[in-house]
């Protein structure tokens, strides 16, 4: 009898403790901001998270993620999400906005929609950066610089392997450009079944020479080690590594594809008010204009973009000279087609 009652007492104490812990974490969670990690998030910490935390006199937690609408869906459907503000890519913004995963943005606190680039404005999100995926190479190794996607495909003129992001997104667009499709017509061609076949056929040519990468830091190390002669890469990382490690990596702007990442607030966030204030803080010209000091991303707030010194302007995707021949990522196309094309892409890879 005594043994049983001791056991019950221990069990009861355990249960009470468990409830206390659960209760403790559910209440009063600090504002949690989620971004893409790496040196980009380090910069954000310095110019957004820490100053904002000082301003409200409360801690701001930050986490990093690797994207995927499934992650957002799981958080929101669990009830009260444990993230508040998340930086998302174009498709996650469109998908999540249509499916009701995000709170609506209060554009009045941001000073109105016309302060931003039109592409950075959405009901559910505020543009945070403009970034490009582009052809890149190590200028210290390649004496004749490649200038187009046709050069990227030309393995006799430029012998060696090529780095490519694994997945249909960007691969199909760049393949069509290499096949002679004008950048501004890429999505029109890709919208037809023949266009998709054409892109895969062009990829066939290069397949034996491709090293596939997945994380944004990989193409840089592939280029640095000489594993590949050219690779697709993100422009901010290129400029970043040139500055920090003294590399001479160059990118080709014509034929590059730019996209906008946005801040969103997860549905039913317990800190929605602070979250909105944070986005306003991170979008204010005085704060946002500091970003290019750290990493070469374009700024969606027009006033902030105008405050960037000319020396830094030349590396930004939003600079007029860099926009010539570049196209915007078509989020709607990929929202519709990513699943089917990924299935086909995986089958093509396994062939």
């Amino acid at each position: 009898m005594k043994a049983t009652s001791t056991l019950l007492r221990i069990g009861g104490a355990g249960l009470a403790l468990g409830l206390m812990v659960a209760g403790g974490t559910a209440s009063a969670r600090d504002l949690t901001v989620v971004s893409w990690g790496g040196n980009y998030q380090d910069a954000q910490k310095k110019i957004y998270f820490e100053p904002f935390s000082k301003e409200i006199g409360k801690p701001v937690l930050d986490e990093s993620w690797d994207g995927g609408i499934g992650v957002i869906a799981a958080k929101v459907k669990a009830g009260v999400p444990n993230w508040d503000v998340v930086q998302v890519e174009t498709e996650e913004l469109e998908l999540g906005c249509a499916d009701g995963f995000y709170e609506k943005i209060d554009w009045a606190t941001l000073g109105g929609k016309d302060k931003f680039l039109p592409a950075a404005v959405s009901d559910c999100g505020v543009g945070a950066i403009v970034w490009s995926t582009m052809l890149s190479y190590d200028a210290d190794r390649l004496k004749t610089p490649p200038t187009s996607w046709a050069d990227f495909w030309d393995t006799t003129k430029f012998p060696g392997k090529r780095g490519f992001r694994r997945g249909p997104k960007y691969s199909l667009e760049f393949a069509l450009m290499a096949d002679g499709v004008k950048p501004e017509e890429v999505y029109k061609v890709l919208g037809t079944p023949e266009g998709v076949d054409r892109a895969f056929k062009k990829l066939d040519e290069l397949k034996p020479n491709i090293v596939w990468w997945e994380a944004g830091a990989q193409p840089l190390s592939l280029l640095a080690s000489g594993e590949v002669v050219m690779s697709t890469a993100y422009n901010g990382r290129l400029a970043g590594i040139n500055k920090t490690e003294g590399k001479n990596f160059q990118g080709v702007w014509p034929g590059s594809i730019y996209a906008i990442d946005s801040w969103v607030i997860l549905k039913d966030s317990p800190n929605a008010k602070e979250a909105m204030d944070f986005i306003a803080f991170a979008s204010a010209p005085a704060n946002q204009s500091k970003l290019p000091d750290y990493i070469a991303y374009g700024l969606p707030n027009k006033e902030a973009a105008a405050m960037v010194p000319p020396a830094l302007q030349k590396d930004l995707p939003t600079t007029q000279a860099n926009l010539t021949g570049a196209i915007a990522l078509d989020g709607a196309f990929w929202v519709d087609n990513v699943e089917e094309l990924t299935k086909r892409f995986n089958a093509w890879l396994a062939k």
Partner: protein, 392 residues
Amino acid sequence: MSGSPARARVSALLLVAPLFLFLAAFFVWPLVMMITVSVTDGTVRQVMPETASSIRAWDGSGLPPQEVQDALIADLRAPSEQMAFGDAVRRLNSEVSGFRTLLSRTASAVRDAPAGQPIHLAAIDPRWGEGRYWQALQRAMPNYTDRNLLAAVDLKRDTEGSITADVSANRVIMVRTFTIAALVTLLCALIGLPYAMIAAASTGWVRNGMLLAVLLPLWTSLLVRTASWVILLQNEGLINKALLAIGIVDQPLQLIFNRTGVIIAMTHVLLPFMVLPIYSVLLGIPRNLMPAASSLGASRLRAFWHVLLPMALPGVASGSLLVFMVALGYYITPALVGGAEDQMISSVIAFFATGTANWGMAGALGLILLVATTALYLVYGRLSRSPNMVGA
């Protein structure tokens, strides 16, 4: 203790109750959920109840009769919960690409139209004039479906409902997953057994050093270990530089971004799971058995073959099982050091789970993997004829 057997049984049950609760909550329940989500459908039905009941009678040829179209319009007009509508759209779009834009355009056009006026769906978007969108809608209505399970093994139902081949590579990737896991297990056993034997036979700092060499990597992040293999194996990496310097090869060997790199890195990462079970079994073998065998005239090889190895085999068996099971789920290592032909099934599951929130598909692939693994485990259990193989 009062000593009554019934009471003792109750307290024994209470003692293991937390374990059972834990297993039920974190193992059985998710497993049941995974299986359920891969075969249930009803998300479309939930937001389009009228369409569901009127489209059932349609024979699937041409375009559905006007009342089905009217039912769809009525359903779109009725306010529905945004998240539930999103689930339905995601389900439809995963079957026919383009449903997402089609439905959002149609829904907003229908909601904006004045109440009494007749609406022609094909006028809002010409895609409503194509049969395949309606057929997809009809196929999405039942509460249960086999499409995820079929798609997981590269099959689908055509418009007549018979099963045909689908364009995907899941079967190839699944076979590849098992091949890589088996190869890694074999290599781990070949390296792990001698290693554990030497470690168990030695004493003092040698043994400590050898164990530390196994344990230290185990405490290091998987990502760090994989990344260091990238540094070692690349064309201008340490290994190739050394080989070139001593003149064994005159061209760098391709050791990374192919199967070789994946096998090397995974074998290293998983080796502790092989060495530790073998080592613990070896420790339990009395040390005087080998001298006893040689005192009876057995050569050292014979003593090893007939005495030590059979007694060490349970350790090898449980180590192999452990390594094989863990290897099946790998995807970070193949993603970083493998090429396109070395990706394993987990990367496909991750794409569906996090990339497109198609949890039905992720669940179906997981289920197929689980079934295949269980089947292998049963075969293995039959072959090894050991009554308690996991515990070994």
